[in-house]
């Protein structure tokens, strides 16, 4: 009986209350808890870092392209040009 009353007094989201529902939703959205979610978040973080932070480190010239060098394999000209480009990105 007492346990039942204690359970009734426990704070929690009231069904239908949108604020409580949202709080409940946030609690349940523990995406990082699942293996797939962890892998997905890790991949997205890596791709975002590669795409947005990469150009700050490795500068390329997107306007002037040297077609003669466009098909060179990675590292042909030097170890500092991994995608087969010149240092200017051509």
């Amino acid at each position: 009986m007492a346990a039942g009353e204690a359970a009734l007094r426990q704070p929690g989201p009231v069904p239908g209350d949108s604020r409580g529902r949202l709080a409940n939703l946030r609690g349940r959205m523990s995406v990082a808890g699942s293996r797939g979610g962890q892998v997905g978040i890790g991949l997205v973080v890596a791709i975002v870092a590669f795409s947005f932070l990469g150009p700050l480190v490795y500068h390329t010239n997107q306007v002037t392209v040297q077609l003669g060098l466009a098909t060179l394999p990675p590292g042909t000209r030097s170890a500092r040009t991994p995608p087969g480009m010149t240092l200017s990105g051509g």
Binding site: I47, S51, G54, P55, P74, P83
Partner: protein, 208 residues
Amino acid sequence: MLGGQSSLELGLAVSVATAIVGTVYGAIAGYLGGFVDALMMRVVDTFLAIPSLVFLLILVNLFTPNMWTIIALLTMLSWLATSRLVRGEVLTLRTREYVQAARVMGSGSTRIVRRHLVPNAAGVIAVNATFTIADAILLYAALSFLGLGLPPPHADWGTMLSNGLNYLFDGYWWIVYPPAVMLILTVVAFNLIGDAVRDSLDVRLRRR
């Protein structure tokens, strides 16, 4: 690197726009019901009946491609599924006691939709938005692959794949594989996140 920027920005923008448009449309249709719902859903059915890539190719030829027009065009194709999902959820939610209680207490339709129905459908919207990012990135890559993406000097994975395909059979794998791998990894990553969000919201799949 720069190809990833435009794909990710576009995918995220389309997902947000799709969630907003689809939610508003689906919530209105689901809440009002009756003739209005039937009419609004027939409009959605009509657009869903048209193959998306064909529809997109026609639209892209009508507008000058830039970032905003591509986002608008992809949103025009993506909001349909979201609106159907939200409408279904709202149809279920609007018969609940708390919605009836809100109505009895004098809440207007706008307030009921905004404060009670849409927040309770947030799970469905969040899951769908995550999958929409992956779909939008793939659709944009397909568009770029066909040469209808953003013009140079914009770079994107679809255009890189298209350009590299000419060299692939000559053994220049390093031109094609990097954008293809990035595209696959991005789509897989967003699908994994979408699955995880869906599982975390599904009571039956949650660990006790």
